[in-house]
Amino acid sequence: MGHTVLVCDDAIFMRTMISDILAQAGFEIVGEAETGTQAVEKYKQLKPELVTMDIVMPDMGGIDAVREIVKHDPDAKILMCSAMGQQALVVEAIQAGAKDFVVKPFQPSRVLEAVQRVLG
């Protein structure tokens, strides 16, 4: 069975696309979250091997969610999904404990490369 993944993004469109890319590559999508708060709750509940995390989300943003998840599990493997022009925020996310990032628009091959890097 493939690695388990939690997909976090406020847009259903993005969650669907990321889930499709990963599921087609053999990953098991165990949950989805549309806010940072949900991401933290679902991480604790589902203990996924990988998290994809959007930066801009309502309620709690992706960077704060990374901080909360890493506080709970310092070994969490989180891949940030950012839009163009968010370099400063990507740096902040990495400092907060995210392992790597991909930039929208997503190319399936780039997403999978980044996922492999994060999973080591």
Binding site: D10, A11, I12, F13, M14, T16, M17, I21, I55, V56, P58, G61, I63, A83, M84, G85, Q86, Q87, A88, L89, E92, K104, P105, F106, P108
Partner: protein, 142 residues
């Protein structure tokens, strides 16, 4: 990757965000000094930008990006919205809706955005003429 399978989802979700934008603009018009509408509109436009770029709709993404840039500067400036700014954002939201419809119909090139893009850039320069946009790299959502 066949993107056409996501077009309907893109259209439905974009429309939701555009409706939210229009509602938030009305809220903002009632209370031009309130900080909440600008953050909500920024998030909605940002989401549309990411989705449009993923679908390959470059003109939609470009329009959303310039709206985001103006909103980011307005938010950082923390000054009340002028009537002129609000009317421009209503117009830009309408243009975004049209550009999205045309793009999904495969007619993105017919979207006439020149004037609204220029007006957005002019307004952004007016909101924050110097050292604009704070951190390098454009709009962000810290």
């Amino acid at each position: 990757m066949d993107l056409s399978q996501y077009a309907e989802l893109f259209l439905a979700e974009s429309r939701e965000h555009l409706n939210a934008c229009n509602q938030l603009l009305l809220d903002w018009e009632k209370d031009p000094g309130a900080p909440e509408p600008v953050s909500g509109i920024f998030r909605a436009v940002h989401t549309v930008k990411g989705m449009a770029a993923t679908m390959g709709y470059a003109r939609v993404a470009d329009l959303a990006h310039r709206m985001e840039n103006l909103l980011d500067r307005q938010r950082r400036g923390a000054v009340a919205a002028s009537d002129e700014l609000l009317q421009l954002l209503f117009r830009a939201t309408d243009a975004l809706e049209q550009a999205i419809d045309l793009s999904v119909a495969g007619r993105e090139r017919e979207a006439d955005l020149g004037e609204v893009l220029a007006d957005l850039d002019k307004a952004a320069a007016k909101v924050a003429p110097a050292a604009a946009a704070g951190r390098a790299g454009g709009p962000s959502d810290s």
